[in-house]
């Protein structure tokens, strides 16, 4: 630290980390292909169903990862957008006879539109208060799903038998659609957060004033991210409706918003992969902990607390720290490597 003159740009070292395609890219491509093709080599319908559950939860969790993990907007009302996606798609198809694909697009656009409209007043509040505001939003939507029974079917919900509305061909291939959408959602979030945009998100999350001074349009990015988050949640809702073939209010309540939040915490709040890892844990956890019987919920809650305390980066963060720790140890063992 004794610079008294500025060095010229010509002396630049030419090593680069960013921008160049890292080997990770090809791993991601391969993993994506594997996920899409999963239905071809998983024979067990049960396992396939769980994988679809994981995929739908993952998409929902990716929406929260983007909103919470990358831009620091705590949403306890993500189930509201999930509900808008599911119900819009189902109502358009069953009551108005809109073709499936068009209904899906409209549902997703509506989810985004709602998120956009909500984000305008919500931009005024941050942190804890944002959590309370989105909590209120989620509760309002949950109540309306029951009270607007002539439209939503109330607690009886609306049935949407797959073969009838998707056709047999598409119904049979629905698992591919679900997993394909997960891959698409992953790449969307990845692309959005991979390069400068992702760093800008972290900047505005950790220091909004500092980010604004660096020319980052904080409010605009927050709104756009919230909107994309709403769209992703609505996408998950669309898939859920066809996966379950019925929509009822119990699937879109406060518990669902909390469940997504737990997925994101378990996997790792600012990790794209974390959303998927968290969803795997949430879906398969009851399987693994079946021996606990009724103590399962308690143990699960304690595990989440332990993660918050000891692995604030979630499972993915923990694994990364472990490996970078290993790498560091290796460096100290071979000092000649570290120049």
């Amino acid at each position: 630290m004794s610079t008294t003159t500025l060095r010229t740009q010509r002396e630049l070292p030419r090593t680069r980390l960013h921008g160049r395609r890292r080997p990770g890219f090809w791993v991601e491509i391969a993993a994506s292909a594997l996920v899409i093709l999963l239905p071809s080599f998983v024979a067990s319908p049960y396992l396939m169903r769980l994988f679809q559950d994981v995929a739908i939860w993952s998409i929902l969790a990716l929406s929260l990862t983007l909103v919470l993990g990358f831009t620091g907007q705590i949403s306890l009302g993500q189930a509201a957008f999930y509900a808008v996606g599911a119900y819009t798609s189902v109502i358009l198809q069953t009551a108005l006879g809109v073709p499936a694909l068009l209904a899906w697009v409209v549902a997703i656009v509506l989810g985004m539109a709602l998120a956009y409209l909500i984000s305008v007043p919500l931009l005024r509040i941050h942190g804890h208060f944002l959590a309370l505001g989105t909590l209120a939003l989620g509760l309002i939507v949950e109540t309306l799903l029951v009270q607007l029974a002539p439209i939503t079917g109330g607690h009886d919900g609306i049935r949407i038998p797959g073969v009838e509305y998707l056709g047999e061909w598409m119904q049979l291939r629905f698992p591919y659609i679900v997993l394909g959408t997960l891959v698409a959602a992953y790449w969307l979030v990845r692309n959005l957060t991979q390069h400068s945009m992702g760093r800008a998100f972290f900047a505005l999350r950790d220091d909004p004033a500092g980010a604004a001074a660096l020319g980052i349009p904080v409010a605009r990015y927050k709104t756009l991210v919230f909107m994309i988050g709403g769209g992703l949640a609505a996408t998950a809702g669309v898939l859920y409706a066809h996966h379950t073939q019925v929509v009822t209010p119990d699937s879109f309540g406060f518990d669902t918003s909390i469940e997504v939040l737990l997925i994101v915490i378990i996997g790792g709040m600012s990790s794209r992969l974390g959303a998927v890892v968290g969803a795997v844990v949430i879906v398969f956890f009851p399987e693994w902990l079946v021996f606990l019987e009724k103590a399962e919920n308690l143990v699960f809650g304690l595990v989440v607390l332990a993660i918050l305390l000891f692995l604030p980066g979630g499972v993915v963060g923990g694994v990364r720290t472990f490996f970078s720790g290993l790498a560091r140890r290796r460096e100290t063992h071979h000092p000649e490597v570290a120049s």
Binding site: T3, T4, L6, Q9, H18, L192, H195, S196, A212, A213
Partner: protein, 255 residues
């Protein structure tokens, strides 16, 4: 071609924080804004940086009125600022932190990021190259992969300056860059500022540390209780009796 502050008054409720202050920051020169605590330095700084809108008066850069522009727009006008309290972007390395400062002019937009247009990757390569260049120029390249909050305070300050440089702005507003630095670090900072000035960067420095300012500034503006009490070259200010009184009085209070 310079940053001009004309008759700026700022009132908060009934309190007048700045009363009719005017001065000019000459292009390519290092101007310092000094004064004891509560003199209105920070308010003045915020009025220029867009955090406060002056109650009266005008701020202009190269003839363009920039009064009350939002912080993000001030940068468009060509002014970058640093913060006194460094708040780290926890997830980012030093290199990435500096790259963030180039985001606004990188051409990467929300929608073309989602579509992963090839330009995004190229633009990122450019950003990295420039950020490495900036770190290198400040002699900080060895810190590239560290996290800002892991660094000692002095280095964090330098990274604030690296960020400001990386924005590409020609005018820098520095908020007390020397506060809390060891003498050795302050010396390095002085060298850096001198080098920047030589490169033609316009600098407005808000500083509390009188000797530091006098050792480096081309031009000094002194505020007290919201009024400008002196304005001149470093040498003139050093001899100004009002400035000396004001400073000595204040130092006693603090001690």
């Amino acid at each position: 071609m310079s940053l001009i502050v004309e008759n700026v008054t700022k009132r908060f409720g009934g309190n007048t924080a700045l009363a009719d202050v005017s001065f000019e920051v000459e292009a390519g020169a290092l101007t310092a804004l000094i004064g004891p605590n509560g003199a209105g330095k920070t308010t003045m700084f915020n009025c220029i940086a867009g955090l406060h809108r002056p109650t009266e008066g005008k701020v202009s850069l190269d003839g363009r009125d920039i009064t009350g522009l939002a912080p993000a727009k001030i940068l468009d006008a060509g002014i970058a600022r640093t913060f006194q309290l460094v708040r780290s972007f926890r997830e980012l390395t030093v290199l990435e932190t500096v790259m963030v400062a180039g985001h606004w002019r990188s051409g990467q937009s929300f929608w073309n990021s989602i579509l992963a247009s090839p330009g995004t990757r190229r633009s990122d390569e450019r950003l990295e190259e420039e950020a490495r260049g900036t770190l290198h120029a400040l002699g900080l390249e060895s810190l590239a992969d560290k996290r800002v909050h892991e660094l000692p305070y002095g280095q964090q300050r330098l990274i604030e300056i690296a960020k400001a440089l990386m924005t590409g702005a020609k005018t820098l507003l520095l908020d007390e860059p020397a506060a809390g630095l060891h003498p050795e670090e302050a010396l390095a900072l002085r060298g850096l500022l001198a080098a920047l000035r030589e490169r033609g960067t316009t600098i407005l420095l808000v500083e509390h540390n009188m000797p530091f300012v006098l050792s480096i500034a081309d031009h000094v503006v002194v505020l007290e209780f919201g009024h400008k009490i002196a304005d001149g070259s470093a040498a003139e200010i050093a001899k100004d009796q009002r400035v000396i009184d004001s400073y000595l009085g204040k130092e006693e209070d603090v001690a």
